[in-house]
Assembly symmetry: C2
Homo-oligomer: 87 residues x 2
């Protein structure tokens, strides 16, 4: 999702409006944006001194951490499935 | 990963220094931070007008989008594996 493409959906994240442009459905974009908004608020609660820019970067780091872990789990599952299929 | 925990690792993301605190290894934290830094630079290339705060939020949205998609793939794989195991 970038800011230069076809369908335009406006969302509010951490009190700022963003226009998300891409091929995703409005429902998907709203779900994803809502999760980012929630994660920013959760991190802010434990880090009151953070400005929005640093808060957003740390949010991205958190989500990327979750992504990498899920990717490892995904690859493990793929290997298990491959083993089953080879039997 | 938050800013209030045990092991402290300093990383540079988009020219700013962050202290990442958590239970992950330094190598893992550096990998994750490097991926966020790269993604911010990629998004900036197509959105030159974005300030750092909005850029970081859009980066978080992008990563969350990837996460949700991978989660759907993961669940599909889980169902396939379950089917195999039930046979």
């Amino acid at each position: 999702m970038t800011q230069d493409d076809k369908t335009r959906i406006q969302v509010k994240i951490y009190n700022q409006t963003y226009t998300i442009i891409g091929q995703e459905s409005a429902a998907h974009v709203r779900l994803v944006s809502g999760l980012v908004d929630q994660k920013m608020r959760d991190i802010k609660e434990n880090n009151e001194h953070l400005d929005t820019s640093r808060l957003a970067v740390l949010t991205a780091v958190n989500v990327m951490n979750d992504y990498i872990k899920l990717q490892e789990d995904y690859e493990m599952l793929q290997r298990r499935l491959q083993e089953k299929e080879e039997k």
